[in-house]
Symmetry: C2
Subunit: 327 residues, 2 copies
Amino acid sequence: MIRVGIYGYGNLGRGVESAIRQNDDMELVAVFTRRSPESVKIRTQGVAVCHADDIEGYKDKIDVLILCGGSATDLPVQTPEMAKHFNVIDSFDTHARIPEHFENVNASAKESGKIAIISVGWDPGMFSLMRAYGLAILPEGRDYTFWGKGVSQGHSDAIRRVEGVLDGKQYTIPVDSALDAVRSGANPNLTVREKHIRECFVVAKEGADKARIEKEIKEMKNYFADYDTTVHFISKEELDRDHSGIPHGGFVIRSGKTGLNGENNHIIEYSLKLDSNPEFTSSVLVAYARAAYRLNSEGQSGCKTVLDIAPSYLTQATKEELYKTLL
Amino acid sequence: MIRVGIYGYGNLGRGVESAIRQNDDMELVAVFTRRSPESVKIRTQGVAVCHADDIEGYKDKIDVLILCGGSATDLPVQTPEMAKHFNVIDSFDTHARIPEHFENVNASAKESGKIAIISVGWDPGMFSLMRAYGLAILPEGRDYTFWGKGVSQGHSDAIRRVEGVLDGKQYTIPVDSALDAVRSGANPNLTVREKHIRECFVVAKEGADKARIEKEIKEMKNYFADYDTTVHFISKEELDRDHSGIPHGGFVIRSGKTGLNGENNHIIEYSLKLDSNPEFTSSVLVAYARAAYRLNSEGQSGCKTVLDIAPSYLTQATKEELYKTLL
């Protein structure tokens, strides 16, 4: 049994908790929180909830620690710190800062002799893998990543910060005509606006100026100004009833040419349609936790990404079973 | 520069020849054939065409040998034999015999200290990878593989063996309603007949009994009897004009559930739409040739499959570049 710890118990931590139950070579040992442990109710009987300050006492009781904090402020500190004592997995997703995060985590993990796998999930994660495979197979080509339809947490937060807004949800939606153009092999140049639209469902406070709210959302720099954005005002009841889920998904498409004169076209398309973004991300984290455990058992150490890990490390099956059943 | 040799110069060998030109860290050193070398015209100037019997003279001149023979009789002999002297790649695709082929090739490659990567292409190959990733991420789920629309070489050959048939092509076509049922998350049980239809374009010899030909094709065991098959009689001119390409493709779909009560559904779909089946397969072979060279340069030896190779070995880019641009 691979003994797993969860650090941070939000949506992602809860997703990891349920994903572990689907993998019978794993057991959840403890959940660590920075809140008061008594205030955290988890859904697995008999598993300890501990304060994060007490984690070093679990050094010999946990094979892999899955870090479920946020990328803005939690993981840049927690992953290098925890890699001093544990094999760790994180879902660090600030793309521009991945090389820096890698260096910090690698230094810790090399020194401790542990394995750390960073930026695990679907983007970065499975989508990164698909971009790499596509580039490798069709070097004369282009890749396109589309996100959605799905809820963007960052954009939903931005809506809720607008004055007069009680609550809100934002959906990122790929533009069908752009997807079709890419699938045709035309290798179009697409602007930000041409690739995605943004749809907002907003609950306004009583008496708020809806015209002003709509204008402020649509003109918000870095979030909405570069997109065609629609704003729907709905009631709190409607929001809770129709928009409480956290679905997401997207597409990575590689379009490339082969032949002496580039006469043949090829389209590789990978798509995800996810009812629950955090639960899917958690499921990827758990598969890579298995890889971290195995790599470290082989004596490897240091920081890795999904690009550095052979697929055969990810499943419960032995290599022989995989050759027989999946090849 | 990675020095590459091609063994066997049919559709696949020609595909490898053109794929190498798209990878500027590689050069084609020689093409080996069992035919008379003078009779083989290749499309790259200044590259030797040699008889297969002379290949051992190239031991120190070739970093990776790409085997482009067939799975029925060529590769079971050639891959273990060539792995005694070279790092090798093959596209062995007789799924049921892969474990046996692996053992034979592994014994040779372990002894010689070379790397062999077998069953490279898209199925087995990229589709195998997708089945493995899907299983790892969504263990409570099912995968579905569909092929087509595309030309099946084996089924086209079978048509041409029917008495009275001058020429013919067979297309394997996935059934849309089956694809839709899988994409819905319903996890249907699908029979062979429900997944694919087979469409045949046949040129009959003058005076041949077309009704008998159609009946013989439709009732042919192991090839057509289990499918809904349509047969179109066309002229040789029409066949050459409209059906000379070798397109193919297909879908691997993983449908799985997460959540404490399996309440959330997720669909992972990978699809290929290929103008040229052999050129795409060749492009995958060339990417894995790079991996074979790198793994052997690191001191590794023995037989591998696509499941055993980390994606970062496949592209020209360094790991640092990949982290920066693709993660």
